[in-house]
């Protein structure tokens, strides 16, 4: 069966086939255990148990002391564009807005300060440019992933 996941290095295609009790990927094999874990036999002779859980569209996997989180790309889905990182990394509160619409900013300049989990987080400009919109003001709550500001990048 064919699946597509988002890994830290980009989208990955994975095709596994089943033969009897064994799932096969190239020369790696996996067998489902009674408790829901997978016994993995790697091509290099190593083996171990993988614990998996699906939360929303994400597959979480623990194997050999490493934890992974792969988003499953639904067949036919299109990928969202890059918003330049001007989104809230956490739900929280806007503490301060340091720029206004029309203002020119330099790379690395602090645009907004958020508070989440009692710690401050600075939203920095990824490139130099002009602020075209500010969606929140100080004191407002923001959700994770909310667009905070919009800006156009200067051409160098």
């Amino acid at each position: 069966m064919h699946h597509q996941f988002n890994s830290p290095d980009g989208p990955v295609d994975v095709t596994v086939t089943k033969q009897g009790d064994e799932w096969i990927l190239g020369e790696h094999k996996a067998v489902r255990e009674r408790d829901g874990r997978l016994k993995i036999h790697l091509a290099n002779g190593e083996s171990g148990f993988a614990t998996v859980a699906k939360v929303a569209d994400h597959w979480w996997v623990h194997f050999s002391g490493h934890t992974f989180n792969f988003e499953r790309i639904e067949p036919g889905a299109t990928q969202g564009g890059n918003d330049g990182g001007l989104t809230a990394p956490m739900p929280g509160k806007v503490l301060d807005v340091l720029v206004e619409v029309g203002q020119s900013v330099e790379t690395g300049q602090t645009l907004m300060i958020l508070e989440a989990m009692k710690m401050e987080h600075r939203i920095l400009a990824a490139a130099s440019g002009t602020v075209t919109d500010v969606y929140f003001s100080a004191g407002e709550q923001v959700q994770q992933g909310s667009a905070l500001l919009a800006m156009t990048e200067h051409e160098d």
């Binding site: 990927l25 996996a30 939360v55 002391g65 956490m90 989990m117 009692k118």
Partner: protein, 504 residues
């Protein structure tokens, strides 16, 4: 006499204290905010009372409400844990005035040590060296900023800004150059105000290359003040400790004796009662400087418990009840290491993470202790500190303790929320950690551009295969995958039906 203890805290430390109460045969009361209704500590208490209000200030920091609950439930002692109200002298005073035993030192001792300037003067008088530093008393923002600028020229760079009434890295900023000072000061004051209701800051010279070493002290009302040896907590990220151990790998008998003597002198200087910690910076040449005294139980107290065999929280309860402490002659035995498991993305500047704890399987076996306030199925929310658990190991030697920590971290499974597990595991392989030559700047020095995990390709392949098999075989229908359990085993199953099928 103490018979019923109200725990004015939440999470992991509330669980630790409530369990100690249960073991000591004391009745216990938990207070909790509405969003903690299903938290573990609420069920560990004999009685639990919900606090009204939405914010931390309206709940865990609301002294009047907590005192009212104590009166209602007939609690005759209040244990504040750490953070929240634990170092608020006004609260200790109000508790005492209400005829309730405060589990901790007197309001006077908290005030003297909590005020970093007074603490420094007290220590200087006791003959203990202190780091150059100054307190900024101004409340007004502009006045405070001007005073900070003036003080910075006397303290010198690099310097550290700290919240006067704080801890836990909140309101703390390292400043390398004068032109970063104002920005850092504004943000430190704001964070301090939000976390502690007090925006005052303290400037101190930043001593690089030093170890953070602290001495645990215990004092009772029967004239006994002792120290329980040191802990080393140099490995810090964002000024929060992540890796702590006892004893300190480079400690000598002479330095331990001198530091222990200084710590006991500090405690006696303020007529200290209960458990406290005196923090020092230990320079590479063996010189040490007083940093501050924490007048409460400390997050990393378990490493001291494991190497001394003393149950510090139980001793706190005993001392508060007016009994003499129970520990006799102390001996340090073996080595203990604690790591703090945080819900955070270590590869993205340690940004706090949230999500469900879909799977939470701690390691087991000899020499392992887990102090936590969460269990599988809980939700990590942005409402509180992101520390999920403390994993503590003990072994006869430091080398074996590190081996045991590596094994434990490899076994620990947390799925559904990003944690720093892998970061902690890689820390155990860092040569400074192996050699015991850690200092407070180690993390920034080792990973100046931030940490990223090194994942062998075949391990990632195996994980991708596991995800693909999981999706193909429908394993998500067999595992806990959402906090409300909607993806759990298909709906409620009657045990009788199961019996029917299996035993027709």
């Amino acid at each position: 006499m103490v018979s019923k203890v109200l725990v004015a805290n939440r999470g992991e430390i509330a669980c630790r204290i409530l369990r100690a109460c249960s073991e000591a045969g004391l009745a216990s009361v938990a207070v909790y905010a509405e969003n903690d209704t299903t938290s573990l500590f609420v069920e560990l208490a004999d009685e639990s009372v919900m606090l009204h209000g939405d914010t931390i200030a309206e709940t865990y920091l609301d002294q009047h409400q907590i005192l009212a609950v104590a009166a209602e439930t007939g609690a005759d002692a209040i244990h504040p844990g750490f953070g929240f109200l634990s170092e608020r002298a006004d609260f200790a005073r109000a508790v005492t005035a209400a005829g309730i035993q405060w589990v901790g030192p007197s309001a006077n001792a908290i005030e003297k040590m909590g005020d970093k300037m007074t603490a420094r003067i007290t220590m200087r008088d006791a003959g203990v060296p202190v780091i150059p530093g100054e307190e900024i008393e101004s409340i007004d923002e502009d006045e405070a900023l001007a005073a900070i600028q003036q003080a910075s020229t006397r303290v010198g760079y690099p310097l550290l800004l700290k919240a006067s009434s704080g801890g836990g890295g909140k309101g703390m900023r390292a400043v390398e150059h004068p032109d970063e000072l104002l920005d850092a000061a504004r943000s430190a004051r704001r964070e301090a105000l939000a976390a502690f209701g007090d925006g005052r800051v303290y400037l101190e010279r930043l001593l690089t290359g030093s170890k953070h070493v602290e001495i645990q002290v215990l004092a009772d009302r029967h004239g006994r003040t002792i120290h329980l040896g040191e802990r080393e907590c140099s490995v810090q990220r964002r000024h929060q400790k992540v890796f702590e151990e006892a004893p300190c790998a480079t400690m000598t008998e002479e330095i331990r004796a001198a530091m222990g003597k200084a710590a006991v002198a500090a405690a006696m200087a303020v007529n200290y009662e209960g458990a406290g910690t005196v923090e020092f910076l230990l320079a590479p040449n063996g010189e040490f400087f007083f940093l501050e005294m924490n007048t409460r139980i400390q997050v990393e107290h378990p490493v001291t418990e494991l190497v001394t065999g003393v149950d510090i929280v139980r001793e706190q309860l005993r001392i508060a009840a007016g009994e003499p402490m129970s520990c006799g002659e102390l001996q340090i035995r073996g080595h203990a290491i604690e790591v703090r498991l945080y819900a955070e993305d270590a590869s993205n500047n340690f940004l706090p993470a949230i999500g469900p704890l879909a799977v939470f399987i701690p390691p087991e076996g000899p020499g392992i202790r887990l102090d936590t306030g969460v269990r599988q199925g809980d939700e990590v929310t942005p409402n509180y500190d992101p520390m999920l658990a403390k994993l503590i190991v003990w072994a006869p030697s430091r080398e074996e303790a590190l081996q045991r920590m590596r094994r434990s971290l490899d076994e620990f499974v947390v799925l559904g929320t990003t944690t720093n597990l892998r970061f902690l595991r890689e820390l155990c392989d860092v040569s400074d950690v192996i050699e015991g030559t850690t200092d407070t700047t180690m993390i920034d020095r080792l990973w100046p551009q931030g940490w990223t995990p090194s994942v062998p390709l075949h391990i990632e392949d195996a994980a991708l295969m596991a995800a693909a098999v999981g999706e193909s075989a429908g394993l998500h229908r067999l595992t806990t995958s959402s906090p409300n359990g909607s993806d759990g085993p298909s709906g409620p199953v009657s045990p009788f039906a199961t019996l029917n099928r299996r035993y027709p």
